[in-house]
């Protein structure tokens, strides 16, 4: 992966205030308050079923909170028109699904859909992407190391390759906010480290607001700036990594015991030759 070009600093933050949500009568989120500042990687952690993905679906406007407000740069998300919201928030799902045999290039170009129609009225009527969009998609395919797969059908790829294509689709949009739902799970070690470095770069060099759901506490410790720790639909703790990822809190939330003398394998990126 090549380093991202450092240029504009599109920055926008998100926050949820007293957000509650439930499917039917079963509450999933209960009065959640959390902040997702720009220029930082915020890891959202918590056991299965703690409401992480639901919170992300609310952040991107797919689910409407039953109470409370989602704020996008200070404005209530419900007041932001769909297309504007879509061009400001990029999302990578946990398991990408595609209904027909689209090529990788077509899938990545779909990420530019919110910016469609820039090349003229006929482009706008047909919802076509233009030259800028193709350039952005090509750049994103290079960044995520999938450019060599451009002409292949998405369904033919391995799980990790599909995941990288989906990340490229989100990166191609170049949005100020990036929401990632357990995206490193199917990546191999090298691609994980490259991707996480790219994530940190997006936040620190380019001022993006990155929200990252993960189960890997070690990676969160290493790459995140902030942590929002959830359990049973509530935020248990949030703040700087070192203040939240401490044995007392983790033992209570995850029902485990932290081994004080534990030695884990630790991997680093090779410095470029």
């Amino acid at each position: 992966m090549r380093p991202l070009p450092t240029a504009d600093s599109l920055s926008l933050n998100m926050a949820v205030e007293d957000v509650s949500f439930g499917y039917g009568v079963q509450p999933v989120l209960r009065q959640v308050n959390a902040e997702f500042p720009s220029g930082q990687v915020t890891a959202v952690l918590g056991p299965n079923g703690s409401g992480k993905s639901t919170l992300m679906h609310i952040l991107l406007g797919f689910l409407q909170p039953q109470a409370g407000v989602v704020r996008l740069g200070g404005r209530s998300l419900t007041q932001v028109p769909e297309r504007r919201r879509a061009s400001q928030i990029a999302f990578v799902p946990q398991a990408p699904t595609v209904g027909f045999a689209y090529t990788v290039e077509e899938i990545v170009l779909m990420g530019r859909w919110p910016r469609r129609g820039a090349d003229g009225p006929l482009h706008a009527a047909l919802g076509l992407t233009g030259a800028d969009d193709r350039a952005a998609a090509t750049q994103a395919m290079w960044d995520l190391d999938v450019h060599h797969l451009a002409g292949r059908a998405f369904g033919e790829l391995s799980g990790g390759e599909q995941q990288r294509v989906t990340i490229a689709r989100a990166v191609a949009l170049d949005a100020p906010i990036l929401l990632l739902d357990e995206v490193t799970a199917s990546l191999d070690l090298w691609h994980q480290l490259e991707f996480l470095a790219c994530l940190a770069d997006l936040a620190h060099q380019r001022g993006r607001c990155v929200v990252w759901i993960t189960h890997d506490l070690n990676q969160a410790h290493e790459y995140a700036d902030r942590v929002v720790l959830m359990n049973a639909g509530q935020v248990v703790a949030q703040g700087a990594v070192k203040s939240v990822l401490v044995p007392e809190i983790l033992e209570a939330v995850y029902r485990v015991k932290v081994d004080p003398a534990g030695k884990a394998l630790r991997f680093l990126r090779k410095s470029p030759a």
């Binding site: 990408p96 595609v98 779909m110 482009h123 047909l126 076509l128 193709r134």
Partner: protein, 348 residues
């Protein structure tokens, strides 16, 4: 896959597709106009343009075949995209069964109250259009019912829509059998010929023009929805995150497909296979991008149905009477489709 340079210069690629499609369609139309049956009792085909009266009848029939073929192919593309299901065809939502119930009800009414209807000049005027109006009413009624049953949380949901359509189709099947018992024996042949699909020389010119306008309007609307349909092939969450208004898009795609199907059912009855295989053939050759499919598939549908109907028209004397065109579309289209299926690389 043939790309026709769509990716680098989409508008140029689309223009080339439309020009080539229109030229080929015109060529096939001329060919179909020139072909006619031989003398009764002789297995020959006459080639050439004959008297204006005969040509006018032929033109009506070939034009109707082109309009119906294009509408069915376009409706198939829309419904396969909307339902995210390559097995969907224009009749999967019970629209054809609704049309059949309409025709059946019309047969019952006309065989019971025929004399009274013909005495009234207004009703008699409506009767001139034969099965067109009842088929249209029945199809549109079925669409409306499926639309309201196919919703979840106030929005069209592809799976619920599909289930509602299949169940409505079954209910209509029962209704047809029930109505059939009310019809005198001689009138039953009308229904049979309707159910196989038949393109008539007797279609009034006004009806053809209306059909053409509906087709062109549906085409323009479908092209406008094409980009959103591409994105809707992803999961709902991803589509919404990319700014697609799923509820609105699905409603428009549903109504667009329904009107095209209802119109073609009114013109020619439920002709099978065109709406299923034309989108498939185009997708196998040109890829799944919906705008490209929507531009190409209607031409393929029009050409396919014009050829099938011409075959039916000129071979009438071989089979002791014209075959229903649905028989030809199934017998020619089916094996060709299976051949393509056996050659494809990726199962979608």
């Amino acid at each position: 896959m043939i790309k026709l340079n769509h990716d680098e210069h989409p508008i140029f690629g689309y223009t080339v597709s439309v020009t080539v499609g229109a030229l080929l369609t015109t060529l096939v139309l001329m060919l179909c106009l020139a072909l006619g049956p031989g003398l009764p009792g002789h297995p020959t085909i006459s080639v050439g343009f004959s008297s204006p009266a005969i040509m006018s009848l032929r033109l009506t029939r070939v034009a109707a075949a082109a309009i119906v073929g294009a509408a069915l192919a376009l409706s198939g593309v829309l419904l396969q995209g909307l339902l995210r299901n390559p097995l969907a065809d224009p009749y999967v939502l019970g629209i054809s069964s609704g049309g059949a119930v309409g025709v059946m009800a019309w047969i019952v009414i006309s065989s019971t109250f025929g004399a009274a209807i013909l005495a009234n000049p207004w009703l008699a005027q409506l009767f001139r259009y034969g099965q067109t109006l009842p088929a249209l009413c029945g199809s549109l009624l079925a669409c409306t019912v499926v639309y309201f049953l196919g919703q979840r949380k106030g929005q069209i949901d592809p799976l619920t829509l599909l289930l509602a359509g299949v169940v409505l189709g079954a209910i209509c099947g029962g209704l047809i059998m029930l109505l059939q018992n009310l019809v005198p024996y001689g009138a039953k042949a009308n229904l049979l010929s309707y159910l196989f699909g038949y393109i008539s020389e007797g279609t009034p010119t006004l009806v053809l023009w209306i059909g053409l306008v509906v087709l062109l309007a549906g085409w323009a609307m479908a092209l406008n929805l094409g980009g959103a349909l591409n994105i809707a092939a992803l999961s709902d969450v991803e589509a919404v995150s990319l700014g697609v208004r799923l509820g609105r898009m699905r409603m428009l795609a549903f109504f667009c497909a329904s009107f095209l199907t209802a119109g073609s059912i009114a013109l020619a009855g439920p002709i099978g296979f065109v709406g299923l295989i034309c989108p498939h053939i185009c997708r196998m050759i040109f890829g799944p991008e919906h705008r490209r499919l929507m531009l190409i598939a209607p031409f393929v549908g029009a050409i396919f149905l014009m050829l099938a109907d011409t075959f039916v028209r000129i071979t009438g004397s071989w089979f002791g009477g014209e075959l229903p065109v649905g028989v030809v579309t199934a017998l020619c289209g089916g094996p060709f489709f299976l051949y393509l299926l056996s050659r494809r690389r990726v199962w979608e």
